[in-house]
């Protein structure tokens, strides 16, 4: 069982025997898995809901930006890819896809999606660009503070990695840091009678928090 490249010595067998005997007795893994399965399925459902929710939020954001641009256009043109001559509202999507002509060149689109993104190739580009935007890590660090009765945790998301910026422990509680990143941070606040856990996961570039009492 020992790796030959380590250089086997007779003491290895004795260490294997003694340290092996020091470990806990093995049990029935199926029984353990059966008890854990509901918790694992709940975690998976939460993860899936967050992913779906993130996609919905992204679509809402696209529609919102497009609607705001349409409203600020003023000329009645529905093509937000082409800035109106009198519009002072910047359209970030046009930084990469704006056509050279200031006049609308495509007919208004009845679909809400293209209405938000504009017509022609600019709309398609904006749509694809916007669809990928939520999955990119934010360019600047983001910090959020999460509260519980046992204390609070300020979590920082920087360059795609989570970390604990600071904590604040409530009176009567002690703090334990169970995970410090990069894709999860978890802090537990314990008192004599109860425990509060604040867990933040990095899902699809977003911080997803779960606070539970044990």
């Amino acid at each position: 069982m020992s790796d030959d490249s380590l250089g086997f010595e007779p003491i290895d067998d004795e260490l294997r025997r003694r340290l092996g005997a020091a470990g806990p007795q093995s049990g029935d893994p199926d029984a353990v898995l059966g008890a854990l399965r509901p918790r694992y399925h709940r975690a998976r459902r939460r993860h899936q809901m967050v992913v779906i929710g993130g996609s919905v939020l992204a679509i809402v954001a696209i529609v919102g930006v497009g609607t705001a641009a349409l409203t600020a256009g003023g000329s009645g043109a529905r093509n937000v890819r082409i800035p109106a001559a009198n519009s002072s509202v910047p359209n970030r999507e046009t930084t990469t896809t704006a056509p050279p002509s200031p006049a609308p060149t495509t007919p208004p689109q009845p679909s809400g999606d293209t209405g938000a993104a504009g017509g022609g190739t600019g709309g398609a580009t904006a749509g694809s660009g916007a669809a990928t935007a939520p999955t990119a890590a934010p360019a600047v660090p983001v910090t959020r503070t999460y509260q519980s009765n046992g204390g609070s945790v300020t979590v920082k998301l920087d360059n795609g990695a989570l970390s604990i910026a600071s904590t604040n422990v409530a009176s009567g509680y002690t703090e334990e840091r169970h995970d410090t990143g990069p894709d999860r941070v978890e802090v537990r606040f314990k008192s004599d009678k109860t425990e509060w856990r604040i867990r933040v996961d990095l899902v699809n570039g977003e911080m997803v928090e779960e606070t539970t009492q044990h």
Binding site: M1, S2, D3, S5, L6, E9, I11, D12, E14, L15, R16, R18, L19, G20, A22, G23, P24, S26, G27, P29, D30, V32, L33, L36, R39, Y40, A43, R44, H47, E176, R177, H178, D179, T180, R184
Partner: protein, 166 residues
């Protein structure tokens, strides 16, 4: 579940990995950190994270190695907490002018293991208790094989003084 349900296949693979790896991981990490409850907590949480991402993790060369690495991160957090606790106790002892006796050699091999640096404890536990190869230990600890051999040699030398005594 239907046989052609991809979720069923995912679950079968996951279940098999759990059956093969759960108790060996718990045993080795319990020896490494000296606390069965902490080890079980760490391994169960690591399997939970793998379950949520199983479609991706299952494609890795060594899914169990990924799970073990996540569990080890938890164990290292425990080591840091223990170190802070021991330092606090030592400061308190110094403040109360307690006479410190020179440490005696522990009679128990696990107690001696607990005195080793964390990397040596983890490497020794994975190698001797879980029976991993040097390469598998290196994958789980995210170290080079040379670094793992260094830690194993150092741990063996430290433990030999106890094992070698009559």
């Amino acid at each position: 579940m239907q046989p052609d349900d991809p979720g069923a296949t995912d679950s079968a693979d996951f279940d098999e990995t759990f059956r093969e790896s759960y108790w060996p991981m718990v045993r080795s990490l319990a020896v490494a950190c000296g606390d069965r409850e902490v080890a079980e907590d760490a391994v169960q949480d690591a399997f939970e994270r793998a379950f949520v991402r199983w479609r991706r993790i299952a494609r890795y060369d060594d899914p169990a190695g990924w799970i073990r690495h996540v569990a080890l991160n938890r164990i290292r957090d425990q080591f840091r907490r223990d170190t802070r606790k021991h330092k606090a106790v030592a400061r308190l002892a110094a403040e109360t002018e307690t006479t410190v006796q020179p440490p005696e050699l522990p009679e128990d091999v696990t107690a001696l293991l607990a005195q080793l640096p964390p990397q040596q404890r983890i490497a020794a536990a994975l190698f001797y208790v879980e029976g991993l190869s040097v390469r598998e230990v290196a994958t789980s600890m995210k170290l080079s094989e040379g670094a793992v051999k260094y830690h194993l040699h150092a741990a063996r030398a430290a433990l030999a003084q106890l094992v070698g005594t009559p």
